[in-house]
C-alpha cells in the first residue's frame, strides 16, 4: 500500500446514537484530511456495501456508535469485503456490546463487576417475571442502576432509590434494548481508562456538575468536570489500568477501546463496561486521555489508520 491510503470513515447510520456518531465521524475525517490522507465520510445505509466495493478504499475507520456499528454487524461485513478496519473485530465487538454477557466474561477473568440481574422482555412476557421484580431490590439492595443491556451514551439509564420506581425504570430501559440490566449502584469515583494498542492511557475522572453523568452531561460542553489523570492514589490508578487491560483482553478488544469504571471508597475498581468504538467528539473521553498521554487528536486518528493496516492480516 502507498504511504497515503484511501480511507473511508464510516459514520451515522440508523442507530439511536446517530448524532454522536456523526460528530465523531466528522471530527475524525477532518483530522485525517488535514493530515494529508484521502478521506471520504460515508453515512452508513443500504448502499454501504456497494459504495465500499466501488470506492477503491484501502481501509475503513469506524466512527459508528450503537447497534449495527458497534455490535459486530459492520465488522462482519467488512471482513467479507476484505477491507481492513479500525477497532475490535466482529466477535469482540459483539461480546462487549452485550453488557450482561460481557460482564460475566470480565468476572471470569478476575475483574470486579457489580452484582447484577438481567430481566428480558421475554422474561416478563413468557415467564411472568413481574412476580419476582420485588426480589431484585431484596437481592441487590438499593439504590440500583437500571440500563438497557446494549447501547451507549447513557440512553435509557435510570438510577432508582426505591423498589417502587423499579418497574417504570425497567420499562424505560426496555425501550432501548431487549433486556434490562439492573446493577447494584456502586458509589465512588467515576473513571474511564482508554486503551490504545494495548497501552493504558491516563485515567480520566468524571465529575458531573449535576447529579449524574447522563446524556446532557456527556454531550454538553461544560456540564462535567474532567480530571486527567484521575485524582487516584497510585495503587487505585494501577488497579484501574489492570482491570481495563484484563477485561479488554478477555473480550479480545483491540486498537482503541474505553473501559468505564467506578472506584469505590476502598480504592477498588468496579468495571461497568467496555466500549469498543468510543466516542471521538469534543467532549469524549478517549481523545482526552490520548491528549494527556501526548497523543494529539490527529495523531490518534492516524494511529487508528496505521493499526487497521497493520492488523489486516489478522482477520
Amino acid at each position: 500500500m502507498s504511504t497515503s491510503p484511501h480511507v473511508a470513515v464510516l459514520t451515522g447510520g440508523m442507530s439511536l446514537e446517530r448524532e454522536v456518531s456523526l460528530r465523531s465521524g466528522t471530527r475524525i475525517a477532518t483530522a485525517l484530511t488535514e493530515g494529508g490522507l484521502a478521506v471520504e465520510r460515508i453515512d452508513v445505509d443500504r448502499d454501504l456495501v456497494a459504495r465500499l466495493g466501488a470506492g477503491g478504499y484501502d481501509l475503513a475507520v469506524l466512527a459508528l456508535h450503537g447497534a449495527a456499528g458497534e455490535d459486530g454487524t459492520v465488522q462482519s461485513v467488512l471482513d467479507l469485503l476484505g477491507l481492513p478496519f479500525s477497532g475490535s473485530d466482529a466477535l469482540a465487538s459483539a461480546l462487549a456490546w452485550n453488557k450482561p454477557i460481557a460482564q460475566g466474561v470480565y468476572a471470569a477473568a478476575g475483574v470486579r463487576v457489580p452484582d447484577r440481574i438481567v430481566l428480558s422482555q421475554l422474561a416478563f412476557r413468557e415467564l411472568g417475571a413481574s412476580a419476582v421484580v420485588d426480589r431484585v431490590a431484596e437481592t441487590l439492595g438499593l439504590p440500583l442502576v437500571v440500563k438497557p443491556s446494549t447501547g451507549g451514551s447513557s440512553l435509557g439509564l435510570s438510577v432508582v432509590t426505591t423498589a417502587a420506581e423499579l418497574p417504570a425504570a425497567i420499562v424505560a430501559a426496555l425501550s432501548y434494548a431487549e433486556a434490562a440490566l439492573i446493577e447494584r449502584f456502586v458509589p465512588g469515583t467515576e473513571v474511564a481508562v482508554t486503551v490504545l494498542d494495548g497501552r493504558a492511557l491516563p485515567a480520566v475522572e468524571i465529575v458531573p456538575k449535576g447529579d449524574r453523568y447522563d446524556f446532557a452531561a456527556r454531550y454538553t460542553a461544560g456540564r462535567t468536570d474532567f480530571h486527567v489523570p484521575a485524582r487516584l492514589d497510585e495503587a487505585a490508578a494501577a488497579a484501574c489500568e489492570a482491570a481495563a487491560l484484563a477485561a479488554g483482553a478477555a473480550a479480545g478488544a483491540r486498537h482503541l477501546y474505553r473501559a468505564d469504571l467506578i472506584v469505590d471508597a476502598d480504592g477498588a475498581p468496579w468495571l461497568l463496561e467496555i466500549d469498543t468504538c468510543p466516542g471521538m467528539t469534543e467532549t469524549s473521553l478517549a481523545p482526552m486521555a490520548a491528549e494527556a498521554a501526548g497523543v494529539a487528536f490527529p495523531d490518534l486518528c492516524r494511529t487508528l489508520v496505521d493499526l487497521a493496516v497493520r492488523d489486516r492480516a489478522a482477520a
Binding site: 456523526l22 413481574s130 420499562v171 425501550s175 446524556f215 446532557a216 456540564r223 474532567f226
Partner: protein
C-alpha cells in the same frame, strides 16, 4: 489537571447557561432518514406547489427588481408586501392596516420578538396546554414562567383560564399575555369554539389582558370555515402573529406581526437589533406570489390534500389503535394529538419507535413544565397517504407491544394502564411513568 470542555461557561447569560444537549434532539437526527415514516416535523407538503410558477416569478423578481432584491430594506418590511399580507389576514377574518404590520422571518421570529418585547425573566405568560413547541422555546429563552391552561375538544378551557387569572391576582401577579392558537391548534388539532372566543375577549376586557393570537392555521380549515379572529373582537388587546409557511412555503421564512402602533414601533426597533430587516429577495418572491399567482387556489389545494391525509390518519388510528389510546379529531391544520396510558413515557418510547421506523414528537416538548409525558403529536400533512397508513400501523403495533409489556411488568390492573378515551377532551397532563423522563426542551428544533 482539570480539563475545561467549555472555557466560556462563566461568561454565559442566564438564558444560555442551562442549555444542554438533548436526547430527543439527538434522536431526531435519525428521523429524516427515508426508511422512517416521520409524523414528527410540522412540514407542509410542498409537493403540492407549482414549482414552475415559483421558478418563473423568482426569476422575474431578480430580473425586474434585482437591485432592490439584493439590497437592504426597511426594518418594518416592504409596504407592498404588508398591503398583501393585510389581504391574507382579511381572508382569516382578522382586520389590520399595513402600518400595523411588521414583516418577520417566519412566525417564529414574531413569537420571539413578542416575548422579547414583553417578558422579563420570571414573568408569567399563559398558554394552552399543550402549545406550539417553538412558542415554548421562544418563551423559555426569555425565561418566562409559562403556565398552561388545559384544553378540550373546543380549545382552551376559558373557565379554567378565568380561574388561573383569579389565582394570579391572589398572588399579586398578572400575566404579561395569553398566547393562543385559536384555529386548528398546534399540537392539539382542535379549535377554540365561537362561545369561548367571545368569553376570551370578555376576560381580556375584564382582566386588562393582552392576547397573542397565532393565526398559523387560520386558512387551513378543511371546509374553508373561518373562525372569528380575536383581533376582530378586541383589536386593541391583540397582537397577531401570522405566517406564509403553511399557505405558501416555509422556505421563504416569511411571517408577520400585526400590533397596535406603540407596540409595533418597539418591535421594529427590537427586530433591527436582531437582524436589521427581512430579506428583500424573499419578500419580493412572496409579494409576487400573492399578486400574480392564484394563491387562494393553492391554499384550497393544501386544504383538500390535508383533509384527505387527515381522514386517512384518523381512519387508520380508528382501525389500528388499542382501546386505551385516545386522540383528537382535527377539522383542519396539520396535527393529531394522541394520549396514551400514563405508564407509557412517550419520550423514552421514541427510541423504540425509531427502531420500528416511525417517528413523532413526544408530548413534553409542548409544555414548559414537564407535562405531556403521556402524549405525542402526529403530523399528517407531510407523509403520503400510503406512508400514513404504514406509519400508523407501525405506531399501533408499537403501542400494543408497549401496553403488553407494561401489563407484564406492572401487572394487568395497574392504574398506569388505564385507557384515556373516557377522559374529557384533550388530555396530556401526566408526568409519564418512565425513568428517563427528563429533557423537556426548550425547543427541539421542530416546527
Amino acid at each position: 489537571m482539570r480539563l475545561d470542555t467549555d472555557p466560556y461557561l462563566s461568561r454565559y447569560a442566564d438564558r444560555a447557561r442551562d442549555l444542554a444537549a438533548s436526547e430527543i434532539r439527538a434522536l431526531f437526527a435519525v428521523v429524516n432518514r427515508p426508511e422512517i415514516v416521520s409524523f414528527a416535523g410540522g412540514m407542509p407538503d410542498t409537493a403540492a406547489m407549482d414549482l414552475d410558477a415559483v421558478a418563473q416569478l423568482t426569476a422575474e423578481v431578480v430580473r425586474d427588481h434585482g437591485h432592490t432584491a439584493l439590497q437592504y430594506g426597511g426594518g418594518q418590511g416592504r409596504e407592498e408586501l404588508r398591503e398583501q399580507l393585510v389581504e391574507v389576514m382579511a381572508r382569516g377574518g382578522a382586520p389590520a392596516t399595513p402600518d400595523e404590520l411588521l414583516v418577520t422571518v417566519g412566525g417564529q421570529q414574531g413569537l420571539e420578538l413578542v416575548a422579547k418585547c414583553f417578558v422579563d425573566p420570571g414573568d408569567v405568560v399563559l398558554a394552552e396546554g399543550p402549545t406550539y413547541v417553538g412558542g415554548v422555546g421562544a418563551l423559555s429563552s426569555h425565561q418566562a414562567d409559562l403556565r398552561h391552561v388545559p384544553m378540550d375538544a373546543e380549545g382552551m378551557r376559558t373557565d379554567l383560564l378565568e380561574e388561573a387569572l383569579a389565582a394570579l391576582k391572589r398572588e399579586g401577579r398578572r400575566a404579561k399575555y395569553v398566547y393562543t392558537i385559536p384555529n386548528h391548534q398546534n399540537p392539539g388539532g382542535v379549535s377554540l369554539s365561537e362561545e369561548r372566543r367571545v368569553h376570551l375577549a370578555e376576560l381580556a376586557e375584564e382582566h386588562d389582558l393582552l392576547l397573542l393570537e397565532d393565526g398559523a392555521y387560520s386558512l387551513l380549515d378543511f371546509e374553508g370555515h373561518v373562525g372569528t379572529s380575536l383581533r376582530s373582537l378586541v383589536p386593541d388587546r391583540v397582537v397577531y402573529v401570522g405566517t406564509m409557511s403553511k399557505t405558501f412555503a416555509p422556505g421563504v421564512r416569511t411571517g408577520w406581526i400585526a400590533a397596535p402602533t406603540p407596540v409595533r414601533e418597539r418591535l421594529v426597533v427590537l427586530r433591527e437589533a436582531a437582524d436589521l430587516c427581512p430579506g428583500n429577495l424573499t419578500q419580493l418572491v412572496v409579494e409576487r406570489w400573492l399578486t400574480t399567482q392564484p394563491w387562494e387556489a393553492q391554499v384550497k389545494e393544501y386544504r383538500a390534500l390535508y383533509a384527505e391525509k387527515a381522514r386517512t390518519m384518523l381512519d387508520a388510528l380508528e382501525a389500528e389503535m388499542p382501546a386505551e389510546v385516545a386522540w383528537t379529531r382535527p377539522s383542519g391544520g396539520m396535527f393529531v394529538w394522541l394520549t396514551v396510558p400514563r405508564g407509557i413515557d412517550t419520550s423514552a418510547l421514541l427510541a423504540k419507535a425509531i427502531v420500528n421506523r416511525v417517528a413523532y414528537v413526544p408530548g413534553r416538548g409542548f409544555f414548559g413544565d414537564g407535562q405531556g409525558g403521556d402524549a405525542l403529536r402526529l403530523c399528517f400533512s407531510y407523509a403520503s397517504v400510503e406512508r400514513i397508513r404504514e406509519g400508523v400501523g407501525r405506531l399501533a403495533e408499537l403501542l400494543q407491544g408497549e401496553l403488553a409489556l407494561l401489563r407484564d411488568v406492572f401487572g394487568a390492573d395497574a392504574p398506569e394502564l388505564a385507557g384515556r378515551r373516557d377522559e374529557p377532551g384533550i388530555t396530556g397532563g401526566g408526568q409519564g411513568g418512565g425513568g428517563t423522563s427528563r429533557d423537556p426542551g426548550p425547543g427541539w428544533g421542530v416546527a
